[in-house]
Structure formats: C-alpha cells, structure tokens
Amino acid sequence: MDAFRLADADAVVHRVLAGDPEAQESLYRAFEAPVYNLARRICRTAEDAEDVLQETFLEVYRSLSRFRGDGSLWGWVRTITASKALMRLRRNKYRDTDELHDDVTPMRRDDAALRMDLEAALQRLPETSRAVVWLHDVEGYTHEEIAGMMDRTVSFSKSQLARAHARLRRWLGEEAHA
C-alpha cells in the first residue's frame, strides 16, 4: 500500500505529536480514503463506516507515540481501522443471516437477470464472511492475523473464506461455466 504513504511520514508523526493541527490534517488527508474504504467494506452501513473513520483517527492521534516506525504507518493505521470496524460489528450484533442467504433465496443458475455484480454480491455476504474476504484477499492479512483480530480460530477464518467464495461463485453465475 505504498500509494497511501505520506511523503515524509516521520516528520508528520513528530508534528502531530507536538500538537500541530496542520500535521493532523495532513495525516487525515493521506489516509482518509483507504481508512473509510476498509471500514465501509467491513461495516454494514455508511454511517457505521463514518463512525469507524472518526474513531480510528482519534485513536491514531491519541496513540501515535506508540507507533515504533519499524513498519509502514499505513500498516499501523490499517490495523487500528480493522480492529475498530470489527469491534463495531460485534457491538451492533447484527443478526447473521447465513440461512437466508443460502436457503431462503436460492438463485437459479440459468437466470442471468438475477446475477449480481461483484459489488452487490460482496455486500450481500454475511458481515463476518465479508470481513474475512476483504481482510484476506484484498488487504493481505493471513488467516492467523484475522483469527487474532476476530478472537476466533484459524480454522474459522479459513472456513468463512471458503463459504464466502462458494457463495460469490454461485451469485456471480460462475457455476454455469463449471
């Protein structure tokens, strides 16, 4: 994720620690989009993602002195974002609609009109599965890291990913080609 790296991260970090409001804004502008994107991909609603965005930056400003600089700043911010978004999922306790997705509204393989695009299919996944797919396939976290963040087992992360891909494959009409 080098694209999200600040031009001079060390200097910006020191200025934020000194309470420089311009540096706070520079940090925000550099990471606003990737933080929101990650939050939005995990959270169900845009409002939740906006709350995660705010909570993430408040945490970043509060804890920046603990950033050691041995990894990328974006990597550190990203982990805070993922943690806040997953925490919000747990707090909101949305009803997991696995059964609904699988059995109540089955999709006919040959009905091209009902085929979804990837964006809609991803949104339709249960939130835990969607979070695992995004963290693993897009953000590049390992199953061990995801299990740690979700306080679950590695097997749980692997099985969620497999179930999610099986659903995406079906909803995207890829079975028709198999």
Binding site: G19, P21, Q24, E25, Y28, R29, E32, A33, P34, Y36, N37, R40, R41, A46, A49, E50, D51, L53, Q54, E55, F57, L58, E59, Y61, R62, K84, R91, L118, E119, L122, V133, W134, D137, V138, H143, K158, S159, L161, A162, R163, H165, A166, L168, R169, L172, E174, H177, A178
Partner: protein
Amino acid sequence: MTHLTMEQLLAIREPGLEPGVQAWREHAARCDRCQAELERLDQRVARLKALPTLKPSRDLFAQIRSGARVERRRRQWTRTGGVVLALAATIALAVVLVDRAKPERQLVAVSELQQVITRSQELERALASLDPNRGVLDGRAVGITTSLENRLAGVDRQIEMVSLMDPAVREREAIRLWRERVGLLDALMDARLTRARYVGF
C-alpha cells in the same frame, strides 16, 4: 473423479505447504475442471482488489479535530485536577483557621466545603472512567462539551485564586466556586451519557 473443494483450492493459493497441499496442486495441474476453477478464483480475487475505493460522503475532519481537542483538554484537566484539589484542601484549612471567633459557623462551612469537594472528586472519577470510544461526538455535542470544559477551566483558575481573596469573603467564594464546579461536571456527565445512550450502548 473427485474434484477439489473450495477450501482445498484456497489452500493451494496460500504460501507455505500444509499437509495435503502438494497432492492438491498435482491434481489441479492435471484436472482441467479444477484448473479452470482455480483460475476463476484468481480472477475473482483480482476483481475484488480492483473494486473502486469508497469515499465518505462528507468531510469529517472538522469533527475529528474537535473530538481530538476535547480529548486533549480532558487529559489536561485530569492531570491538573490533583493540584487544584490539593489547593482546595489548603483553602478549606485556611477557612477554618481564619474564623476562630465563630467556631460553630466555621465547622458548618468546612463540612459543606468538604462535601462539595468530595462530590467533585466523585464526578471527575466517573468522567475519567467513561470509555472515549463509546461514541463519536457529533458537531453539536462537541460544541456543548467544549463550552462546558472551557467554563470548567475558568472555574478552576478562580479556585486557585481563592486563597488570595479577602478572608471575609473567601469562605463563601470557595463554596460557591466548588458548587459551580460540581454543576459543570454534572452537565458534562449528562452530555456524555446522553451521547452514549444515543448511539445505543
């Protein structure tokens, strides 16, 4: 012929070599159907990575900056709170010593001052124990909180000056200021708890 499951296809894509993965790779290499499934999986992941970056519908930096400012101010007066309270104890003692001629009245005043200081300490502890992540403050809540904390800082400055006042008025002033401090802390507590209820905790 048994084809690879989704879990096995995904395991092939993982770095490292888990038990069985080598055999699954060999199978995929000679099975057209599993090879095609693996390619579709690769393409799906590539398409996920290529999805557009979603952006917030409004600029939230002003709210974040206000929130950060509120937190910084709270930390500051949590740090200075001990000094103010130590001063208050000194003032309470001074009030007792200055009015030797009226021992009954002085006992009442000290008791009242101690009660209000104790209440102030309790509220400070309760405020400090609230999780800052319980909910993000909206613009209106930030405005209210900032105003209350500014007034609180003003009262604290006046409390620090009480010992320099005329002995004839400082007993009354100390009690009045500490009462005002408790009122402001109560209002701050309400503002935070209202927000906590609003976000559903």
